[in-house]
Amino acid sequence: MPLPAPENLNVILATDCGSTTTKAILIEKVNGHYRQTFRGEAPTTVEEPVADVTVGVVNAATEVGELAGRPLVDEQGQLIRPARDGRGCDIYISTSSAGGGLQMLVTGVVREMTAASAKRAALGAGAIVMDTIASNDKRRPHEQIQRIRELRPDMILMAGGTDGGTVTHVVQTAELIAPARPQPRFGGQYRMPVIFAGNRDAAPHVAEVLKDIVDLSIVENLRPVLEQENLGPARDAIHDLFLEHVMAHAPGYDKLIAWADAPIMPTPGAVGDILQEIARQRGINVVGVDIGGATTDVFSVFESGGQSVFNRTVSANLGMSYSISNVCSEAGFPMILRWVPIEMNERELRNRVKNKMIRPTTIPQTLESLIFEQAVSREALRLAYLQHREFATTLKGVQQQRSVGDTFSQQSGGASVVDNMKLDLLVASGGVLSHAPRMEQTAAMLIDAFEPEGVTELAKDSIFMMPHLGVLAQVHPQAAVEVFERDCLITLGTCIAAAGATRPGRECFRYVVEFGDQRAEGEMPFGDLRLIRLGPEQTARVEITPARGVDVGAGPGKPLVREVRGGTVGLILDARGRPLQLPENREECRIVADRWARALEMYPDLNSL
C-alpha cells in the first residue's frame, strides 16, 4: 500500500518492540502541529507461550486506542487504516530490539583503520558487535577461525583495503571465514549473510573463496581512501539483511513486517537517526545515552574538521539488571560506594546485586535501595562513556600536514572527537535515568558520570520516544522533529562546570545570575555544587568569572557571559573541577557525597536513614 502524502498524515501509530516491553505511541496533528498524544505498553510476546510479536503490538495499540478514545485495532485483531471517523491511524511504523537485537561480527585488515570503520558502520546501523577480526588483533589465524566458529552472529560485515590497495590481506580474511563455516543464529536453514564492503579489486577473489559457503552481498568500499569513510552503503545493506534474515526468523515478525508502512529499524539505529537530525537542525553537539538492563548505548554527534561526525557504541555488559553484577565487577565496589552518602554493608550489597541479576525485573522499594542503584548507574554510565570516547576518534592512518604553528598543539590521528567542553546537549534515557523519582537525581547521575565541562544543557527522553521518532524521521522528518522538540524531551536545566583544579575551599569561580527581576551572585569554592532554581520556561543571563587556570567555557581564567535555559531542575553550578576527584578514605568520601546530595536536593528524606 503506498504511503499517504506527508500533508495527509494526521494520525501515526508507532511501536518499539523491546526485549521485555512493547511501547506504543500515538502522534496526532493538533492545531497544525504534530504532537505525541497517548502512549501505552504491553509485555513483548516473542517468547513462549505466545511466540508472536504482533500479539504484544496489538495489546499495546489497544491500550493506546482505549486511552485516546480512538479504536486502533478491529475485531479481527488487525490495525485499522486509514484513519476515518475517529477510528484507526494513517500509518503504522515500528522499531525492534526484541530477541537480542542485531548481532554482528565485523572484519577488517588493520584493527585501527578499516576494522574500526567496519565497526562504526555496524554500530551505527544499530548492531551489537560481538567481535572484530583483524590481521593485527594479536590472535593467530587458527584462534581467529575458532572464534568465528564459536560465534553465531546474525551477519558478518567484511571490510579491508582501500580501493586499489591491498588484496592479499583482504582475501586472507575471507580465508579465515570460509573454513570456519559460520552458522547463523537462527539455525541452519539459510546461509550466513556476509556483506563485503572492502577494496573493490579484492571483491572477485573474496567471492571465489566464499562461494557456496555464505550468502555474499558486495557493496561500495566503506573506506575507499584512508582519509574518508563511506558508511552509508554498508549500513543500508545491514538494514536490508536485518529485515530479510534476522527479523523474518523471529516469531511473528513476518506479519509485523507486512503491517508496517516503513521498514522496521533496529531500535538503536533509529535513536541515532533522530539525534543526528536534531544536531543538524540546531547546529549543536549532542551526546545521548540509553541505559538498559543489559546494555548501555552511547550516541554522539560532534562537529569535527568541518563536518558532523556521528558515533554510537554499545557497552554490551553494562546495564542495570541483567548486567548489574558485571558493572560492580568492572568498576569495583569502592568506586560504586563513593557515590553513596550512607553506611552500607558490603557483603549484603553483593548478595543484593546478584539477586537483582537473577530477578532483573524488580524495582527499589526503599530509599536506601534507590541510592545504591543510582550509585551503580553512575559507574555504568561512566564506564560506557569512557568506552565511547576511546572509540569515537578521528580517522586513524591519515597522513597529516602540519605547519610550524602546530608545533605545540599537535594531535595525532585517532584523537577522540568527543570533547566535553564543546558538548551542548546531553540527553538521558533508560529506566534508571527516566524513572528516577526526582529529576534532581537524573541530573546528578548525568553530571557525575559524564563530567560535562563549560555550559551543557541536560534533558531526558520523557517516555523513551526517540526510537519511534527515529523511524518516523524516515517517513516524515518534520513531524519527527516537531514531536521531539515539543513532547519528547524534558529539559532538566543547564550545568555550568569548571574544568581544571585548584585547592579545596579556594575560590573556583564567581557568578552573577539574572533572571526576570531576580539576581543571584556569589563565590563558588572549589569542590562545591550549587543549585539555582530556574523554571522550564525561564532563561537567565549568567556571568562567570573563573579563577586563574580554571575554564568554564571561554578559556582558562577567562570570564564567560551568556544566556542559559532553565528546566525542571534549574541551573547547576559545579565547582568540583575535572576530572572529578573524591577522597579515597570511605568516611571522608561519604561526607562529601552527602554534601553534594544535599546541595542538589537529591534525597529530601536522607536524614531518615
Binding site: 575458532q146 552458522q183 541452519g188 548478595n351 546485586v353 524495582i363 526503599t366 535501595s369
Partner: protein, 375 residues
C-alpha cells in the same frame, strides 16, 4: 496491564514434560519414534568439522602464491599426516630444495593462489546428545534430534552453574532451614544429587567435589562463596559451561535463605530416586532456569503437556514470595491488589500489592517485587 503476568518458578509434583534434544549441526538420529529411552542413552550423533590449521605456505617456501600449485606434494582433498612433506620446491638443478612438513594431521582443504595460505583440517570431532530424561521418543526431527516425553516431578531453581548431571537424590538436611556445610555431607555420596536446606557453603562444595557428588542443591549461596568456587566474579547470569566437577543449583537466591518448604518436601519425598539436573541458567531474552527433573514410574494420569515455566496472574489469595529487600525471601499470600499506583519509600510511584506474611504481618510491596510460588 491489570492482569499482567507475574513470574514464578515451577515446582510441581506431577506434570507431563517434553524436552527437545537436538544437535548443534545436522547429524544422525539414532532412535525411532515410540522408543523408550533412558536419560543417559545417546539419541543423536554427529561430527563437527575438525579444527583448522592455517599455514602461509608461500611465506614458508619463499615463493609467489601463484606458483604454489607446482610444488605441492599433496592435492586439496588428500589426507596428510603430521611431519609428512606437504610441498617441496624444485631448487636449482635439483639442489637447494626447500621442503615444508605438515604441522598437523588431517586433510589438505585448500591452497590459495592469491594469499599462499594452506588449510589443513583435522579429523572430525564427535558430538552426541543424550535423552536427558527417562521417557518415550514422541517425535523424531530428521537430521536434528528428538523430542522426549515423560511424566515427571519438576523443580525449577533460580540460578545454577555447571551443566547436565544425573544421579540419585540424597537428602542431607533434616529441614529446609539447615545450611549445607561440610559436616552435613556423608562420605558415600559419589554420583549423588545432594539436597540440602538453606545456604550452600563454599567448603561444602569443595567436599562434594572431592567425594565425587554429581550435583548439589540448596536454598541460597553467598556471592563471595560463588566467586571463590568459580575463581572469578560472575558478571552476567549466563552459565552452564563451567567445569567445576559438580553442578550447583540454588532454588531461592543469594544470601542466607532457606529453601521453600514445598520445594524441600517434594525433593525429600523422592529421596533415592534417579534424577536429571541441569544447572544452565540464562537470564536474558529466552530465559532459562536450572532444573531438577524426577521421572515418575507410576501410571497415574499427568494430564496434558505443560510448559516448563511458572508464574501466572496475581489474585487475592495467590501464594507469593517477596524477591527484593526489605522483605527478600519472605513468603505470604496476596491480601489486596490496589488499583492506583502508590508512593514507595524510594519516592517512586508504582503499582503495589498487599501481602499477609506467614508471621501475620501485612506489608505493601511493588508488584514487580513478588513472584508467584508453586505451579
Amino acid at each position: 496491564m491489570a492482569h499482567a503476568y507475574t513470574p514464578g518458578l515451577l515446582v510441581t509434583p506431577r506434570m507431563r514434560h517434553r524436552v527437545r534434544r537436538v544437535l548443534p549441526i545436522a547429524g544422525d538420529v539414532l532412535v525411532e519414534q515410540g522408543a523408550a529411552v533412558g536419560s543417559q542413552d545417546v539419541v543423536a550423533r554427529t561430527y563437527m568439522p575438525g579444527d583448522v590449521t592455517p599455514i602461509n605456505l608461500a611465506n614458508q617456501l619463499a615463493m609467489p602464491p601463484g606458483e604454489l600449485a607446482g610444488v605441492l606434494l599433496k592435492q586439496p582433498g588428500e589426507a596428510i599426516q603430521k611431519g609428512e612433506p606437504l610441498a617441496r620446491t624444485k631448487g636449482l638443478f635439483g639442489w637447494f630444495q626447500s621442503e615444508f612438513k605438515s604441522p598437523a594431521s588431517g586433510t589438505l582443504e585448500s591452497v590459495s593462489s592469491v594469499t599462499g595460505q594452506a588449510m589443513i583440517r583435522s579429523a572430525p570431532l564427535p558430538v552426541q546428545v543424550l535423552a536427558y530424561v527417562d521417557g518415550t521418543v514422541i517425535d523424531v526431527l530428521p537430521g536434528e534430534g528428538v523430542i522426549v516425553e515423560a511424566d515427571v516431578a519438576f523443580i525449577q531453581g533460580i540460578f545454577g552453574v555447571g551443566g547436565e548431571a544425573y544421579g540419585p537424590i540424597r537428602c542431607i538436611a533434616r529441614s529446609a532451614s539447615e545450611d549445607v556445610t561440610p559436616e552435613s555431607i556423608p562420605a558415600d555420596v559419589r554420583g549423588a544429587v545432594l539436597v540440602g536446606g538453606a545456604r550452600i557453603h563454599h567448603s561444602a562444595i569443595q567436599k562434594a567435589v572431592e567425594l565425587g557428588a554429581a550435583a548439589i542443591v540448596g536454598g541460597g549461596i553467598d556471592d563471595q562463596d560463588l566467586k571463590t568456587v568459580l575463581g572469578y566474579d560472575l558478571g552476567v547470569a549466563i552459565t552452564g559451561s563451567e567445569k567445576l566437577g559438580v553442578t550447583i543449583i540454588i532454588t531461592e537466591g543469594f544470601g542466607d535463605i532457606a529453601m521453600a518448604d514445598r520445594t524441600f518436601e517434594l525433593l525429600r519425598s523422592h529421596d533415592g530416586a534417579r534424577v536429571s539436573v541441569n544447572g544452565s541458567t540464562q537470564i536474558r531474552a529466552g530465559v532459562q532456569r536450572p532444573e531438577i527433573v524426577i521421572p515418575l514410574a507410576d501410571e497415574a494420569a499427568s494430564g496434558d503437556v505443560q510448559g516448563a515455566h511458572g508464574g501466572g496472574v496475581l489474585q487475592v489469595g495467590s501464594p507469593v514470595r517477596m524477591i527484593r529487600d526489605p522483605y527478600f525471601g519472605i513468603l505470604g499470600t496476596v491480601a489486596a491488589l490496589p488499583h492506583e499506583p502508590q508512593m514507595l519509600g524510594s519516592g517512586s510511584r508504582a503499582r503495589v500489592l498487599e501481602v499477609t506474611c506467614r508471621d501475620g504481618r501485612r506489608v505493601t510491596v511493588p508488584r514487580a517485587n513478588v513472584e508467584i510460588v508453586g505451579a
